[in-house]
Symmetry: C2
């Protein structure tokens, strides 16, 4: 599966997330989507998309005067590799230790804990 170790910066990842939700977005659309969080110039987004295409992260097709971009890498794959990298950084590879860090280092609400418990139960069910 060639793995390829996606080493993504924050902005690139954010753009990918946007494209996963809304494929075939024009530069203008991605720019608009990111506007509230990050006030970037239009050309910044355009440049980023071009760089990302050169890296094989996205691709585009022409539609009239504008380019429509879509992610070339799967959300699942990238999330996995981002998560893996996180776990590696946070706790030298131990998932439970990583989660433990997350739990102890921030305020976690009752609801979140309940939800987490449900997640684990589901994972257990799926496991057998």
């Amino acid at each position: 599966m060639k793995s390829s170790s996606h080493r993504l910066g924050d902005l690139q990842l954010r753009i990918l997330q946007s494209l996963w939700v809304r494929p075939d977005s024009s530069v203008a659309e991605v720019h608009a989507e990111l506007k509230p969080e990050r006030d970037l110039a239009y050309t910044t987004v355009a440049t980023m998309l071009r760089k990302m295409e050169a890296r094989g992260l996205v691709l585009h097709r022409e539609e009239g005067r504008s380019f429509l971009y879509r992610a070339k890498v799967a959300a699942a794959e990238v999330s996995r590799s981002v998560g893996q990298h996180l776990i590696e950084r946070l706790s030298a590879g131990s998932l439970t230790e990583a989660v433990s860090h997350l739990l102890t280092s921030r305020e976690v609400s009752r609801e979140e804990l309940d939800q987490l418990e449900k997640l684990i139960k589901e994972a257990k069910r799926r496991a057998q």
Copy 2:
């Protein structure tokens, strides 16, 4: 608490982790510690430590001919901020979603799931 958003690269974080476990390490000791995972030149580690000291991440004192370094930032604080950043990247701030990603995107053993369950229970107990 000024937060300060520690933006650490992999190597810098790894060096900090090493110093948390063994404070007052010489460059040689840090270098030796990292040797198995990353075969870096001695000078690379030394340079990194100097750069990190300039950023306020570590500090040193002189002991004879060599410098003994120790982390200036607390493990808890850095872990928190690294974890926070991770959650942000992975799932726009939702902890449960982040954990969900981690669970679904990799093989999780029965033992790990049990341990996770225990973690949640403990967190709940602590919460009330």
